[in-house]
Symmetry: C2
């Protein structure tokens, strides 16, 4: 379902060039659960942004369901970002003037869901990540791990078929992180969701069917695991 | 050096009261290395903000070097925050319009250090966290783990005698996280720095002399470890 061919991403700063991605080719099948690991700065978030149609590569091709992303209309891209893919950002990207509930409901606004159903579904998503008691808090009235869980709830609320999660447990204690992981695995097993998780944690990676390792903008290893 | 007696922190939101801290008493000796662990939302960052003189408790007393923080003048508090304590924030709190180098140099500006020495010391601090190649990048031109390391470098640059680090390795791969940990341990062992680290990672906590566990705004356990 996800296929990249020789992706490059170059940032130009004055006379300096940063090769964030230097030729990444990968293929993720529908319903797979894949972990991406690698040292700080090696290009994981850059790759995720391209997979999530949030950024364009400088070179190479990205095909989603066989269609080249670079050739899609803005409408189609928008639909993919809002309905097809759920994205958990490494830095959460919550709206600071909205409550947890409003933040989680936002993808439903874009999907044209009516207000009452939005509220019910957003409350349900917050309940699943154990945050219903904090749903009226704004992000600066939440702990780091609570903000991370709001970001996770928001990524799930539109029932996407692909979830891209960039370090979703980085700010969570092991028990809460375990709950989130079990939630992801359940979505994966019961609904066949395709799951790509960037993680630094071995305990997360070992639940994946495959672990892709990156270094300096390229893939250096792939390990198939049977859990 | 750090002593709290029955600290309380209550946030009032409309008719709801959140007891972020519900009676925290602890004592940290000069030169100790202490880890603080506990579930997401249990009060760790709230406690750290009070220890760092960045927030006031609603109740209870905090003594730093035997002097009650609540009775100190603004000048003295300012001096403590800028020169005595180095704080690594869970959300980094970098200035988005300044480069990594400028962000790291900021505490030196407050300390009245001249420009050339500021630049040399800030470069040195970035080198220590392996980020000299990125020193001209702004935060949004850095990866999550690189931003975290800039926050760490900034906390160290004024050579504080106390370091309060709120989840300093949450966004780092295990090798980079290990480098940071070894750096903290070295400062601890060679310079007798007092180190308080909030962490979710067992591999960080096991390097501490003592692990304090929190839950629902109180301390529930303390374990002394000999490493
Ligand atoms: N400004 C605020 N207004 C209301 N409640 C708040 C505010 N700031 C924090 N809280 C609440 O206080 C509690 C403690 O927050 P704190 O940030 O100290 O948790 P934490 O232990 O650091 O969690 P984490 O591991 O997720 O970072 C949380 O339940 C949070 O929702
Ligand atoms: N806008 C930008 N301009 C210049 N360089 C950038 C920009 N964004 C990212 N980079 C650089 O690209 C490289 C890859 O960044 P990326 O965020 O993908 O890393 P990462 O693997 O997610 O790291 P981490 O594990 O620390 O989150 C980094 O070295 C970073 O400094
Ligand atoms: Mg990243
Ligand atoms: Mg916290």
């Amino acid at each position: 379902v996800i296929e990249t061919t020789d992706l490059h991403k170059i940032y130009t700063m004055g006379d300096e060039e940063v090769h964030a991605l230097a030729g990444v080719s990968l293929r993720i099948e529908r319903g797979e659960m894949v972990a991406i690991m690698g040292p700080s700065g090696c290009g994981k978030s850059t790759l995720m942004a391209i997979l999530g149609a949030l950024d364009k590569p400088t070179g190479g091709v990205y095909r989603l369901d066989g269609v080249e992303i670079g050739q899609m209309s803005d409408d189609r891209l928008s639909d993919i970002r809002n309905n097809r893919i759920g994205f958990v950002f490494q830095k959460f990207n919550l709206l600071s003037r909205s409550t947890a509930l409003e933040n989680v409901a936002l993808p439903l606004v874009y999907a044209g869901i009516p207000a009452r159903e939005r509220r019910e579904r957003a409350e349900r998503a917050l309940e699943i990540v154990d945050l219903k008691a904090r749903m009226k808090h704004k992000p600066n009235e939440l702990s780091g791990g609570q903000q991370q869980r709001v970001a996770i709830a928001r990524a799930l609320v539109n029932r996407p078929s692909i979830i891209l999660a960039d370090e979703p447990t980085g700010n969570l204690d092991s028990r809460t992180g375990e709950d989130i992981l079990r939630l992801f695995q359940e979505l994966h097993q019961t609904q066949g969701i395709t799951l790509v998780i960037v993680t630094h944690a071995a305990e997360v990676a070992e639940r994946a069917g495959r672990v892709i390792s990156m270094r300096d903008g390229v893939i250096v290893d792939e390990t198939v695991q049977t859990s």
